[in-house]
C-alpha cells in the first residue's frame, strides 16, 4: 500500500463520527488538565483508563492520545500567567514565560506557545508518518553504551540554563541527582535514602517533585500578594495577543531547533518531553546572541521548549507502538490499552494494524488543528483569570495539585511529598538558588547511572566500550569539544577583564 492509500485509510478512520467525537473529547480534556497545575495527562489517563475496557481500540487510543498531547498545549498557560507549571514539561517555560506575562505580554506568549506547540507537534507527526519504522529500528540499536554517551552530552549541553552563580546551579543539579537516587538500587535491590519509609522504595514521582518545587513554592512565596495582578485592560484584548514581526522572526529558528531536539528525545524511552523542553531551552540560550535577555522574557525561551515538548509527545509513540517500549508511565497506560484489546505492540503493528495506526496518526492532525483553533479564543479567557484575586486562585490550585497527585497512585503519601518539596522550594528561593536544574539532575541522573552500570555489567567492567562503539565515541567527543569550547571562552573573557557577557545590539 502506498502512502496515499494509507493516508486515505487513516483519514477515513479518524473522521468517523465516533472517532472524531473521542478526539474532540480527548484533546479538550487534555488541554484542561494541562492548564490546571497538578492535574496532568497521567492523572486524567489513569482515571479514564477503566473506560477503555468498554471502548473499541481506535476510539480508546484516539482519546488517550488526545489527552496526552493536549496537556502539553495547556501546560504552558499557568507557567506564563502564574509562574506555576501546569505539567512537568512546562517547567522551563516559566523562566521566560512568566516575565513576559509580567510585562503585559502574556497574550503574545500564550499565542506563540500555541503556534510553537502546533509546529513541534506537526514535525513529530510527519516523522512518525514517514520514518516511524526506520526510527524504531535505529532506536533499537541504542544500547546502554550509546545511552550513557548521549546523557553525558545532554548534561554538558544543558549546564548553562540557570541564571546567576554557576556554583549554585551545579549544587542544584547535584540535589536533583540525590533525589533521583531515592528508592531501590535497580541492580542490587538495596534501598537508598528511603529513610525507612516504605512508599519511598519506588522513588520520588516526577509530578510530585515538579508540583512541589515549582508550584507550591511559588504559592508560598506570593501568599502575601492578596490583590489581583496589575493587568491593565489593554493587555487582555485581542490586539495584545498579536506578536510583533520581531517576535515571529526570533521564534522561527528556535521552533525548528526545538522540534528537532524534541523529536529526537521523544524516540528515546526514559527521556521524554520534560527533558526535551529543558534541552531546547539550554541550546537556545547557548546559541543566542541575546543571552542577557534570557530569564527576562526572551521569546525564544518559550517557543523552543514548547515546540520541543510537543514534538516529543508525538514521537514518543514510535517506541511505544513499534518496539513496545513505553518511555513514560503515561505511555505505559497507552500500551496497556493496546494489550487489553488483544493487540501486541511490536514491529508488525504498522502493517498488521494499518487502520489503527494510520487512523491514530490522522487523529493527531485533527487533534493538533483543533487544539490550535481552541487555544486562540481561550487566551483572552485565561488572561482574564489573572484579574481574579490570588486568595481565590491559590487555594483552588493547591486543591487541584493535591487531587492530581493523589489520583495517580491513590496514596496520601504522595501529597506529603508535594508539601515537603514545596517547603524545600521556598527555602531555596529565599537563598536565591535556581530550582530548574534540580529537574535536570532528577531525570537524567538515574538514567546516567542505570546505563553506565549496565554497560559495565555487560562489558565485565571494561570502560573502553565507550570509545569502541562508534556512536558513543562520536557523541562523547562532541561533549568533550563543548566542554573545551566553554572553558576556552570563559578563559578568554577573564583575560579581557570582563566576566560579564557584553550585550550585543541587533
Amino acid at each position: 500500500m502506498g502512502v496515499l492509500d494509507n493516508l486515505a485509510l487513516g483519514l477515513q478512520t479518524a473522521l468517523s463520527l465516533q472517532n472524531l467525537a473521542f478526539c474532540v473529547f480527548g484533546v479538550s480534556l487534555g488541554m484542561a488538565v494541562g492548564v490546571i497545575p497538578g492535574l496532568g495527562a497521567i492523572a486524567a489517563i489513569s482515571m479514564l483508563f477503566p473506560i477503555t475496557y468498554h471502548l473499541e481500540l481506535t476510539p480508546a487510543l484516539v482519546m488517550l492520545a488526545g489527552i496526552w498531547y493536549g496537556s502539553s498545549y495547556g501546560g504552558s498557560t499557568a507557567s506564563i500567567l502564574l509562574n506555576i507549571p501546569g505539567t512537568p514539561s512546562s517547567v522551563v517555560t516559566c523562566i521566560d514565560g512568566y516575565p513576559m506575562g509580567q510585562q503585559g505580554r502574556g497574550g503574545v506568549a500564550l499565542l506563540m506557545t500555541a503556534v510553537a506547540s502546533f509546529f513541534g507537534g506537526s514535525v513529530g507527526i510527519l516523522l512518525m508518518m514517514f520514518f516511524g519504522p526506520l526510527i524504531a529500528s535505529y532506536a533499537r540499536e541504542f544500547g546502554a553504551v550509546e545511552y550513557f554517551a548521549l546523557i553525558v552530552l545532554g548534561l554538558v549541553a544543558a549546564s548553562t540554563v540557570a541564571q546567576g552563580s554557576a556554583a549554585k546551579s551545579l549544587a542544584m543539579v547535584t540535589l536533583g541527582l540525590i533525589f533521583g537516587t531515592v528508592g531501590l538500587d535497580m541492580y542490587t535491590g538495596a534501598e537508598r535514602l528511603t529513610l525507612g519509609i516504605f512508599e519511598l522504595s519506588d522513588g520520588i514521582s516526577l509530578v510530585a517533585l515538579a508540583m512541589g518545587l515549582f508550584g507550591v513554592s511559588e504559592i508560598i512565596s506570593s501568599v502575601r500578594q492578596v490583590k489581583a495582578a496589575e493587568v491593565g485592560k489593554s493587555s487582555v484584548g485581542l490586539r495584545a495577543m498579536k506578536p510583533t514581526r520581531e517576535d515571529v522572526r526570533r521564534s522561527v529558528l528556535p521552533m525548528v531547533r526545538g522540534s528537532a531536539i524534541g523529536s529526537f528525545f521523544g524516540t528515546l524511552p526514559g527521556t521524554g518531553p520534560a527533558i526535551s523542553a529543558y534541552m531546547a531551552y539550554a541550546i537556545e540560550k547557548r546559541l543566542s546572541r541575546r543571552k542577557h535577555e534570557f530569564g527576562k522574557g526572551a521569546i525564544e525561551g518559550i517557543s523552543a521548549p514548547e515546540a520541543a515538548n510537543n514534538a516529543a509527545d508525538q514521537t514518543s509513540f514510535i517506541p511505544t507502538l513499534t518496539l513496545g517500549i513505553p518511555g513514560s508511565p503515561t505511555m505505559a497506560l497507552i500500551l496497556g490499552a493496546l494489550i487489553i484489546h488483544g493487540i501486541t505492540p511490536g514491529p508488525q503493528l504498522v502493517s498488521e494494524q494499518a487502520p489503527v495506526f494510520w487512523g491514530l496518526i490522522m487523529s493527531f492532525w485533527i487533534g493538533n488543528l483543533l487544539l490550535l483553533v481552541l487555544n486562540i479564543p481561550l487566551i483572552g479567557v485565561w488572561v482574564r483569570l489573572l484579574l481574579l484575586p490570588y486568595h481565590f486562585v491559590y487555594p483552588a490550585v493547591l486543591t487541584f495539585i493535591a487531587i492530581g497527585v493523589y489520583s495517580v497512585n491513590n496514596n496520601v503519601f504522595d501529597i506529603q511529598v508535594v508539601l515537603a518539596f514545596g517547603a524545600l522550594g521556598y527555602l531555596l528561593r529565599l537563598l536565591d538558588f535556581p530550582t530548574a536544574p534540580v529537574l535536570l539532575g532528577f531525570v537524567l541522573g538515574p538514567l546516567l547511572e542505570e546505563n553506565f552500570r549496565r554497560a559495565m555489567l555487560i562489558s565485565r567492567g571494561d570502560p573502553l566500550v565507550f570509545v569502541q562503539h562508534p556512536i558513543s565515541a562520536t557523541v562523547l567527543a562532541l561533549a568533550a569539544a563543548l566542554l573545551v569550547l566553554g572553558a576556552w571562552s570563559a578563559l578568554r573573557q577573564t583575560r579581557q577583564g570582563t566576566a560579564l557577557p557584553t550585550p550585543e545590539t541587533d
Binding site: 489513569s46 477503566p50 522504595s201 519506588d202 505505559a332 511490536g346 491513590n410 496514596n411 555489567l457 555487560i458
Partner: protein, 322 residues
Amino acid sequence: MHMKFALLGACAATMALTAPARAEYPEEPVTLVIPFGAGGITDLVTRRIAEKMAAGLGTDIIVENRPGAGGTIAARSVAESDADGYTVFVGTVGSQVVNPLIRDNVGYDPVESFEPVGLMAGTPFLLAVNPGLGVETFGDLVTYAKEHPGELNFGSAGVASSPHLGLELLKYEEGIDIVHIPFNSGREAVNAAASNEVDMTIDAAVVIMPQVKEGLLVPLMLGTDRKMVAAPDVPTNVEAGAPEISITSWNGLFVPSGTPEDVVSTLNTALMGALADEELTAALEAQGTLLFTGSMEEYDAFIEAERTRWSTIVEAADISIN
C-alpha cells in the same frame, strides 16, 4: 463442666441468630484491590473477571489500583482491613510468595494474614535467545552455557522479578553460570535480547512472540507443561526435558483471615462462575494467559509448591530487597 456447656450453647444460639443477617452478603459493593497500576495483565484479568463476578454476586464491584513497593503497600492495607468480605485482595506470586521472602518487614504474613478465595489466572513464561547465539534447543543452550561459563548475559525485568527468579531457577537446576542484567521492564529486556545487547531473556508470550515472528528471537521452551495457543510451536518444559523449570506469573483473590466461611464460599462460587466463561478463556488464551480451574485443595497445593520452589531459589541465589 456444666457451666462450660451452657456458655457454648449460648454462643451457638447467638451465632444462629446472627447467621441469617450475614447470609445476605453482599449488602454493599465489594472492592477488589489490585496491587499494580492500570493497564497490565493483572489489571486486565481482574477487571474482566470482576464484571462477571458482579453479575454472580448481584452487587457492584469496585476495582481499585493501589500500586507501590511491588504490591506490598496494597497487601499490607488489605491484611489490616475488616474481615467482612467487602475488601478483597488480588494477590500475586509476588505478594503471596516472593515479596515476604526477599523484603524485611512487609507488614503481613502471606499465610496467616490471608485466606485464599481462589486462583484466577496464570501467565506461563517463555525462554528465548538471540539467533546470533546459534542455539536451537534448550539442551543446546545448557551445553553452550557449560562450555562458556559466565559469558552469557541474561536480561530481566529487574531484581526479584519473575524473569530474574526464572534465571536463578535455571542456574540452580542446570548448574550453569549466566550473568544477570536487570532492566526497568520486561519489554526493555526483551528488546535488548532482540538487538543482541544481551543473549537471552524470559518473559510472557505476548511480549516474546512478536520478536520471534520478526526473526529476532528464537524461543526455546515454555515455563509450563501445557501447550500454549499463543506459542503453539514452542516445546513445553516436559518436552524439552526440563520439567523442573516451571515459571508462571499467577494471581488470585484473597481475603483477610477471619473472614466468615460462608462469605468466602459466596465469593468462591462467584469466582468459579466467572472463570467458567468460555469467551473470556479464549480471549486470554490467545494472549498467553490461562484461567485456573480446580478445587481449593489443588490451589493450596499449587501455592505451597510455588512457595517451596521460590524459597529454595531465593535462598540459593541470595536475593533480597532492603
